[in-house]
């Protein structure tokens, strides 16, 4: 089982409490971006395209802890930028763990081995290592040779110390399904707890028909990757989200499920679009025109099937429908039955 039982129970309890309280829109995962500066410069990465004085800005530990309290999500994902560049990231993580939140520290792992001493193994902390495929694909994606090998070495070192380690992989339409399946084998052989995969986000103005074809291509790609899964593969995400990627379930985006907080504030409406910023989480929830977003409603959302919009939809399906719940139970207990 990829996700520890305690984490499953925490999320289950949280979701049921929200439903009992009648809360229609609640966050599941806080996307906390403590800085945008990175030690890689992946071509086309929208997260690092800012002037230097903006890249030098950082959230303080207190701002990070307050954001987590304010939002209340049981899971905090820390992307960036590269979080390990932040001089106080270990303190930030320690504070979030003290709040008993499940923290996924997303890193390219270049600095991980050097900084491992700063972290105590905990069920609340997972190093989520950015791996975009096997050596050739990964190094090409991050625009630097040797990064894959550094990351693999860091994964082994983190596992040796008893840390939870997962991988996170972004796949674009040019991915080779056979190579991706081989990559899954390699990662599981390293001993990671589980893998997270998502299609990447790209936006191009296009007629509706082209968007339809693009989504069809994404579904075809993930069907070829995920069909007949091997017994050893573990995914650290909702099995229904993987069904969605394969075109087996249809979801509407749940942008408030993964709210984003960074040096600009609370990002409207989601991790991928920047339509403005709110000062507080409450303001984000109350002033964002949620109904204007989603694949059928907004040109910018038309091609999007990214985890930050649809993973929460899958979780809602699990707890909101009999078919969703039974399918989740089945795929959790029998992952190869897909």
């Amino acid at each position: 089982m990829a996700v520890p039982v305690s984490q499953m129970l925490t999320v289950t309890k949280y979701v049921l409490m929200q439903r009992l309280k009648g809360v229609a829109r609640y966050p599941l995962v806080l996307m906390l971006e403590p800085l945008f500066r990175c030690n890689l410069a992946c071509a086309g990465c929208g997260k690092i395209q800012y002037p230097d004085h903006v890249l030098d800005k950082r959230l303080t530990p207190e701002q990070c802890w307050a954001a987590a309290e304010e939002c209340g999500a049981p899971i905090v994902s820390i992307p960036g930028g590269e979080p390990l560049i932040h001089p106080e990231i270990a303190k930030i993580v320690e504070g979030l763990v003290a709040q008993q939140r499940y923290v996924y520290l997303c890193t390219n792992a270049i600095l991980l081995e050097r900084k491992l001493d700063e972290y105590k193994p905990s069920k609340f902390l997972t190093f989520s290592i950015h791996m975009d495929g096997l050596r050739d694909e990964h190094d090409l994606a991050v625009c630097r040779d040797g990064v894959y090998d550094v990351a693999v070495k860091a994964i082994k070192a983190a596992l040796k110390r008893g840390h939870r380690v997962t991988t996170n992989t972004t796949l674009f339409d040019d991915a080779n399904p056979e190579r991706v399946r081989k990559f899954f084998d390699e990662m599981m052989a390293l001993g990671v707890e589980g893998m997270m995969i998502s299609p990447g986000y790209s936006y191009q103005k296009a007629p509706d028909q082209q968007h339809f074809l693009k989504r069809a291509r994404t579904r075809e790609l993930f069907t070829r990757i995920l069909s007949k899964p091997k017994a050893g593969w573990q995914f650290n995400q909702s099995p229904l989200f993987l069904d969605f990627l394969m075109g087996r379930r249809e979801y509407h985006c749940t942008p408030w499920g993964n709210p984003t907080y960074n040096v600009f504030g609370w990002q409207k409406p989601c991790y991928l679009l920047q339509e403005g910023y709110a000062k507080t989480f409450r303001e984000l929830m109350e002033t964002t025109a949620w109904d204007e977003y989603g694949s059928t409603k907004n040109e910018k959302c038309a091609d999007c099937m990214v985890h930050c919009g649809y993973e929460a939809s899958a979780v809602q399906d699990t707890f909101g429908t009999v078919s969703g719940f039974s399918r989740t139970v089945k795929l959790t207990l029998l992952p190869t039955s897909r």
Partner: protein, 131 residues
């Protein structure tokens, strides 16, 4: 991490870098502010008082009785709130950090250009202690 790929055509000639807008009407002002908000570089805002502010426009609040822009100044750690009504002109003075940096533009570069860029980025990260 790369979870987005900027798919602009990589053509720098489409950038606003170097242009200046002197809005002649409220609707032109709103349009210029939207362009500044979407711009991935610093701008210089000239106020009706004559003051000039250089920085990154990261937000704008269009609602309410006093629409305002929020800017991170280049030389000061705080945030400046600037009323729309106080803005005389907006110049796109800072480097556009997005245009021409798409995945396609990267792939289209010569191998020697890519290698030079990789080395420059790595040297910069090393100098900051990030490698």
């Amino acid at each position: 991490m790369t979870d987005t790929k900027n798919h602009s055509d990589g053509d720098r000639s489409g950038s606003l870098e170097g242009r200046r807008f002197l809005p002649a009407s409220p609707s032109e002002l709103v349009e210029a502010i939207e362009l500044a908000f979407d711009y991935r570089g610093d701008v210089t805002i000239e106020l009706t008082s004559g003051e000039r502010l250089e920085g990154y426009v990261f937000n704008r609040n269009t609602g309410g009785p006093a629409p305002a822009v929020e800017l991170f100044p280049t030389v000061d750690p705080g945030v400046r709130h600037i009323l729309y009504s106080d803005i005389r002109s907006i110049a796109f003075t800072g480097e556009d950090t997005a245009t021409g940096r798409s995945w396609e533009a990267w792939v289209a570069k010569k191998d020697s250009e890519r290698r030079a860029e990789i080395e420059r980025i790595a040297a910069d990260a090393k100098a900051r202690g990030h490698l």
